[in-house]
Structure formats: structure tokens, C-alpha cells
């Protein structure tokens, strides 16, 4: 059988479940053709067939993606017998295509819904483009592969960004929870050692507890600020432990303490920073209690109930299981199938050592599940959770099918090929960088020339000014000399006239007195200026602290807001809301169009396109109000009008996003 006949049989394959060699045999038997491909071609086709079967088994992806990829196999077979590059694993564009698509599709599942549509479409398009190329022979296969690899990589990058955002949110959440737990622990430890009045108990479990969390979030548990706050808590409770029979020394100690405590407490009351009245009330209450103690009046001390700490402890009895957990890598994919639940492909995105928790996200970057270390180890040992392999999967299988037995040997082979491919890409990047560098150097040279010219002009100007100044100085000296001469003449005259000399001496004494007064005045003015400067510095420090506290509050607020957005987004992801008749981003819920608040829409039913976001959907009034960034109303529609625009493709969902944006990019305004 000549090569053209083999290619003809490969183009005619209809049953993609058979490998390419088996498919050729099935066709030749069906038509009674006794010939076969050349022995070296048979060997190559069987090698590819075995490699693909191994790949499907060891690196499975879900249907319908796996079925779409099988359509490319006959093309790969044709390349295997016509392109010598194909025999080197990792060298051929189709190897790289299968490797990249597997990396992107490892977490894909049909239940992802709209979030998985982009990848599904990409793979379907890839299969169609490549099979079209095979049938028509037009175009450039490596160009097609390169384009698909770029798109798949972008899809992967997008998913990674979503995952990173989730990780940051979760870390923030656990940082807050940890601050809550540590604050409660610190206050409870002190409450266990001391009794207190009910009012001080409420204060400690209220504003003081909230302030402790803010101090931890801002400075951390190892900071001197946190140590100071802990000591202040102890000192406050200790100051109450005195009765009428206390020694004079203890009373003196209390007197010294109560003069210092209010100032220190005020410093750490971050939670009441905006509430001057609240601060004054709290400090007033503490001062009043101390006043009673100093006057030896009785106060009611009771044992205060601790701050509730439900759900704040972790399992500390892990032992050997920790080794298993340590061996799990962030970014690793797992197939998890708990009893009674649908199996899920999830990626390990976060290990929380202190809480002993593992967090997993799905391909859309949405939190999919959370397990304690112990429970996940059990799932692994029971086979309910299995690690999914990734990497240069197809190239590895090609190597294994060629009797290269270990992953390490296969990886070595692939890594010797990869650099050559990447060398070409690297050279292109270097060429671009070189051009950019040259442009920058030219720009720098131009700027230097301009600077030198400007400096020259400046030097000339300074020289002219100096000359003028020297001239003025000379005139001034001449004038002074003349005045000095006059003065000398005058002195001589005074020496001659005794009476005038006496008057001159009297004037001198008066001048001395005036000078002394002037010196004292200058000294007083200087002291007043120093005091004013100190007060100004203190005010600036206070202002800076207030701004910092407000920034923390706004970041905390935005974080909570984003969590809420994510919860709403997860509700909207449920498949029953999907509809083919309305644009992506909008949902038809029962008889109602469901668009998340804050979604940006593009209207092009008028003369000029308009972008606006959904600010209010009032179900009772049947109105959808759209505004610009500053909240100015741009459109108001009822459901029927909006549906009509959607059906006529006169409106696009540009981006469904949080009204309050990314917490890391929020800008704080001065507080009112």
C-alpha cells in the first residue's frame, strides 16, 4: 500500500473509537483489500495507537471533550508517517496541542455549566479546524496548533486568576477568624484569672474585643502593640482586685495605675475610633470604678462569662497523616467522589496549617469543597479521592509506548526536545527586546542631549546673574566705605565736643537695653514656635492613625462584600437558570429576567452605544434602573422592554461583576 492510499484510509475513518491502525485494518477487511501499510508505517501507527490508549487511561478527561479530541487522532496518524519530527515526543505541534489541552481540561466537568462552555467550544473548534486542514490540505497545521495552544493557555490563565482571587479571599477570611479567635482567647485567659464589674465585663467583651481584632489584623500577634494590649487587659482587671483592707502600698500602686490606664486604653480602642462619645463613655465608666476603689467604696465584682469561641478549634491529633498532607502540592487536581454525591474534579488551592484545613476550587475558580486534614486522608486511603496526573501528558505516553519505562527517562527525553522549540520562541522574544532596548537607548540619548542643552543655558544664565551680583556687591562696599568715613568724621567731632559725647554714651546705654529686650522677645517667639510645631506634629500623627484605621475598616468591609457577591454568584451558577435565548450573564428565572446587581450592559438600540450597570431591579415596580459609574441614571426599562432588546440582540452583557469591585483596588475617601 503506498502512502497516498494509507492517507486515504486515514481520511475515511468514521469510527473514532478504534485506533488508526485498527481502523485501517477494519476498512481493508470490509472492502476485501489484502494490502497493508509498509512495515515501518504499521509500527509507527501501532506505536501512536498504543500511546493514545495509554494517555486516555492514565490521563482521563471527561466527555464530550475526550470524544472531540479523538477526531484529531487520524490527523496525528498521518503526521506520524509523513513528518519525522513526530517520532520525537514533545517535538511536534500536535504533541504540544494534546499536552496543553490536557492541562486546561483536567478540571473540566459538564456540571460547570456556563463556566466550562469556553473550553468546550475551543476543543470542538480545534478538532474541526484540524480535521478540515487534513481533508483540504490548505493552510499551516503548526499555525493552527499555535493559535489553539495560545487560546487554551489564556483559558488556563483566566482560571488561575479566579483561583488566586478565591485564595486571597479565603486567606483574608481565615486571617479575620484567627484574629477573632486569638482576641477571644486573650480576653478569656484574663477573665479566668480575675473577677470584674458587669460594666467592665461588657466593655471587655464588646468594644475592647473588637479593638483587639483590629490590633491583630494591623500589627500581628508577634508585635509589641499586641503585647501592650494584652498587658493593658491584665492591668485593667488587676486594678479592680482591691478591697478596703488593702495595704497602703497596694493603694499607692493603684493610684499610679489609674492615672496611666485611661490613656493606654484610649490608644487601643480602634473600634470606637469614629465614636468619640463611645470612647468617652467607656473611659468615664472605668474612671468612675477606679474612683470608687480609691475612696474605698464597695464595687460588685463577679465572674464574667468568657467570650464564646464556638468552632474555633482544630484537630491536633494528626500524627502520621501530616506526612500525607505535606506530600500534596498546591495546584494538584483530584477526583473526589463522596458517598451519595456526584464526583467532582477539584484543585487543591489552599492549605491552612493552623486550622488544618484544605480548600479546593473547581475549574471556574469557585470554592468547591473544604476538608479537614484527617478527613481528606481518609478519603485518599479509601480511594474516594484520587490524584489526577498532569504535565506533558501526551508526550510522556508517546515515550512510554516507545518502551521508555520511567517518567524520569521520558521527561529527560522531552526536556531535550523542548529547549529547541523554546529556543526559537526565545530568539523571537530576544529580537523584540533588543529592538525595544535600542529604542530606549535612542530615547535616553535624546533626553541626555536635551538635558545638556538645558544645563548649558542654565549655566550661562547663572554666570550672568553672578556678574550682576558681583557688580552690586562692589557698589555696596563702596557705599559702606563712604558711610564709614562719614561716621569717623562724626566721631572725631563728638570727641571734640564733650557735651555731645555724654549724650552719645547715654544713647548707647539705651540701645543696649533695647537689644536685651529684643533678644528676650526673640527667645520667647522661638519657644512658642517650637510648641506650635510639636502640636502640629501630634495632630498629623493622629490624622495618619485615623486614616490607617479607616483604610482597614474599608478593606474589611469590601472583603465581606466580595464574599457576599461570591455567594450570590454561586447561586446564579446553578444550571436551572441557563437559557439559550438570552445573552450570557443574564438568567431567566421563572417569569423574570435575572441579572446580578452591578452587571454592566451595552445598549446599542440608539444612535450611539451606551454602557450602563444595573443599579436597581425592583420586582414590585417591574423596573430595571441602569446607571453610570457615578450612579447617574442612564436607562429605566420594564421587563417586557428589556426582554425585547435582548431578543433583538440590542443589548450585550459586558461583564457581570461586583458593584464594589475588587477589595484590593478600592480607594478610601476621607471619612465624614
Amino acid at each position: 500500500m503506498n502512502i497516498e492510499e494509507v492517507l486515504g484510509y486515514l481520511r475515511a475513518i468514521e469510527n473514532y473509537d478504534l485506533g488508526p491502525m485498527d481502523a485501517i485494518r477494519a476498512q481493508t477487511e470490509a472492502v476485501g483489500d489484502p494490502s497493508l501499510p509498509q512495515p515501518d508505517q504499521v509500527a509507527t501507527l501501532e506505536w501512536l495507537q498504543n500511546a493514545y490508549a495509554l494517555w486516555s487511561e492514565e490521563f482521563p478527561i471527561e466527555e464530550p471533550l475526550a470524544g472531540q479530541l479523538k477526531r484529531i487522532l487520524p490527523v496525528a496518524a498521518a503526521q506520524a508517517i509523513t513528518d519525522s519530527d513526530f517520532t520525537v515526543p514533545g517535538a511536534h505541534p500536535l504533541h504540544q496541542l494534546f499536552d496543553t489541552i490536557h492541562d486546561s481540561a483536567i478540571g473540566w466537568q459538564a456540571q460547570l455549566g456556563r463556566a466550562g462552555t469556553a473550553l468546550e467550544t475551543l476543543i470542538e473548534t480545534a478538532a474541526t479546524q484540524i480535521t478540515d486542514w487534513f481533508e483540504n490540505g490548505q493552510g499551516d497545521l503548526s499555525g493552527i496548533c499555535e493559535d489553539i495552544i495560545t487560546k487554551a493557555t489564556k483559558d488556563q490563565d483566566r482560571a488561575q486568576r479566579m483561583t488566586q482571587r478565591l485564595v486571597e479571599t479565603e486567606k483574608g477570611k481565615f486571617r479575620s477568624a484567627s484574629a477573632r479567635w486569638k482576641s477571644a482567647e486573650m480576653i478569656n485567659n484574663n477573665l479566668a484569672n480575675f473577677s470584674a464589674t458587669a460594666e467592665i465585663g461588657s466593655f471587655l467583651k464588646g468594644p475592647w474585643y473588637e479593638s483587639a481584632q483590629l490590633v491583630l489584623l494591623k500589627f500581628g500577634a508577634d508585635s509589641s502593640e499586641w503585647a501592650d494590649m494584652t498587658e493593658t487587659t491584665r492591668a485593667l482587671l488587676d486594678s479592680l482586685q482591691i478591697d478596703g483592707s488593702a495595704e497602703e502600698d497596694r493603694r499607692q500602686q493603684l493610684f499610679e495605675l489609674v492615672t496611666k490606664l485611661p490613656k493606654v486604653i484610649k490608644r487601643w480602642l480602634f473600634s470606637l475610633h469614629m465614636d468619640t462619645e463611645g470612647v468617652n463613655d467607656a473611659i468615664g465608666m472605668i474612671e468612675l470604678t477606679h474612683m470608687h476603689l480609691l475612696r474605698q467604696q464597695p464595687i460588685d465584682l463577679v465572674q464574667i462569662e468568657p467570650v464564646p469561641m464556638e468552632g474555633m478549634s482544630a484537630d491536633r491529633t494528626m500524627g502520621a497523616k501530616l506526612k500525607t498532607i505535606e506530600s500534596l502540592s498546591l495546584g494538584q487536581w483530584f477526583l473526589v467522589a463522596e458517598e451519595g454525591e456526584e464526583s467532582q474534579r477539584v484543585q487543591l488551592v489552599l492549605k491552612l496549617g493552623q486550622e488544618q484545613l484544605l480548600q479546593f476550587a473547581n475549574k471556574a475558580g469557585i470554592k468547591a469543597m473544604q476538608h479537614g486534614y484527617g478527613h481528606f486522608c481518609t478519603l485518599l486511603s479509601e480511594g474516594k479521592a484520587t490524584a489526577l496526573r498532569s504535565g506533558t501528558s501526551f508526550s510522556l505516553c508517546l515515550a512510554h509506548a516507545a518502551a521508555i519505562k520511567t517518567d524520569a527517562d521520558a521527561a529527560t527525553l522531552i526536556n531535550t526536545v523542548k529547549p529547541e522549540i523554546e529556543e526559537a520562541r526565545k530568539k523571537e522574544r530576544q529580537r523584540e527586546e533588543s529592538e525595544q532596548l535600542q529604542e530606549e537607548q535612542e530615547e535616553a540619548a535624546r533626553l541626555q542631549r536635551e538635558n545638556e542643552a538645558a544645563e548649558k543655558v542654565q549655566r550661562e544664565k547663572e554666570a550672568a546673574e553672578k556678574q550682576l551680583q558681583d557688580q552690586k556687591e562692589a557698589e555696596k562696599i563702596q557705599l559702606e566705605q563712604k558711610e564709614q568715613e562719614k561716621e569717623e568724621e562724626k566721631k572725631e567731632q563728638l570727641q571734640r565736643e564733650h557735651e555731645e559725647k555724654e549724650r552719645f554714651e547715654k544713647n548707647a546705654i539705651e540701645r543696649q537695653k533695647n537689644d536685651k529686650e529684643k533678644t528676650e522677645k526673640l527667645k520667647n517667639d522661638s519657644e512658642a514656635a517650637d510648641k506650635l510645631k510639636q502640636e502640629k506634629n501630634a495632630a498629623e500623627i493622629r490624622k495618619s492613625e485615623a486614616e490607617e484605621a479607616n483604610k482597614i475598616r474599608i478593606e474589611e468591609y469590601l472583603r465581606k462584600k466580595q464574599e457576599r457577591e461570591q455567594r450570590l454568584a454561586q447561586i446564579n451558577e446553578t444550571p436551572q437558570y441557563r437559557s439559550a435565548e438570552i445573552p450570557p450573564g443574564a438568567e431567566l428565572e421563572g417569569n423574570e429576567i435575572r441579572i446580578p446587581m452591578g452587571t454592566w450592559l451595552g445598549f446599542h438600540d440608539g444612535d450611539t452605544p451606551l454602557m450602563a450597570k444595573l443599579a436597581v431591579h425592583d420586582r414590585e415596580q417591574d423596573s430595571y434602573i441602569f446607571v453610570n459609574r457615578e450612579g447617574i441614571k442612564m436607562r429605566s426599562l420594564n421587563k417586557r422592554e428589556l426582554l425585547s432588546l435582548m431578543e433583538n440582540s440590542l443589548v450585550d452583557i459586558l461583564e457581570a461583576r461586583s458593584n464594589f469591585g475588587n477589595p484590593t483596588t478600592g480607594e478610601a475617601e476621607d471619612p465624614g
Partner: protein, 121 residues
């Protein structure tokens, strides 16, 4: 002054409010958030004092941290009026009317303030 009465006054006068002056745009524009205090609150709206002039008619996202509520309430509000304070050049008072918006916490707000009816806003 009884403690109950005092609590009621705090609820009705000074709560922490976050106001979104500008939302995050489609590009790289960041959201601009102002932190301020309410002067009084009612079933249908609230009056705030803020270091920023608000545009009358604008529909803005706001967050309210009520002292007697566990979670922040997220609401949509329309600016009804805004005046510069006589005693300060960089301080404004503004009246905000709350809107019936899906996805917002307006129902919770009204439950919490069910007994109040302050016509000032």
C-alpha cells in the same frame, strides 16, 4: 437616662455608613468608597454627614453597620438632597432614600427598623 433609651438614640443617630461614590468600571477604574456617619435613620431612608458632595438624583450602593445587627446591610439608595454645612467648608449633609432592590438587604433593614418612622429624611 435609662440604658434602653440610650441604645435607641445611638441606633437612631450615629451608625457607620460606607458609600460607593463611584463603582469599579469595566477597565482598571477602582471603586471609590467614603466612610461616614448617619445623623438619623428611618424606615425609608437616612441622613448622613460626609466629607464629600453627593450628586442629587444619583443612585448609589451603600453599606450600613448597625450597632444592633450582626452583619453589614447592603442597600441601594438615591440622593434626595445635599447641602454644605454652615459651620464647615468641607462637610456636607445629605438625605438618602432607600430603594426596593433585589439582591439588597432592604427587607432586613425594614424588619430591624419596623417600629421607627422618622420623617426628617
Amino acid at each position: 437616662m435609662s440604658s434602653d433609651k440610650r441604645k435607641y438614640q445611638r441606633l437612631s443617630h450615629e451608625e457607620t455608613i460606607f458609600i460607593e461614590l463611584a463603582s469599579a468600571g469595566l477597565g482598571d477604574e477602582n471603586a471609590k468608597i467614603a466612610l461616614c456617619k448617619s445623623v438619623n435613620i428611618s424606615h425609608n431612608g437616612l441622613r448622613v454627614r460626609i466629607n464629600h458632595e453627593l450628586t442629587v438624583g444619583a443612585i448609589l450602593q451603600i453599606g450600613v453597620e448597625l450597632t444592633n445587627a450582626e452583619d453589614t446591610l447592603y442597600l441601594a439608595a438615591q440622593v434626595i438632597w445635599c447641602e454644605r454645612d454652615k459651620e464647615s467648608d468641607d462637610s456636607w449633609s445629605a438625605g438618602l432614600e432607600l430603594m426596593n432592590a433585589n439582591d439588597s438587604d432592604i427587607e432586613t433593614w425594614r424588619e430591624l427598623l419596623g417600629d421607627m418612622d422618622n420623617p426628617d429624611t
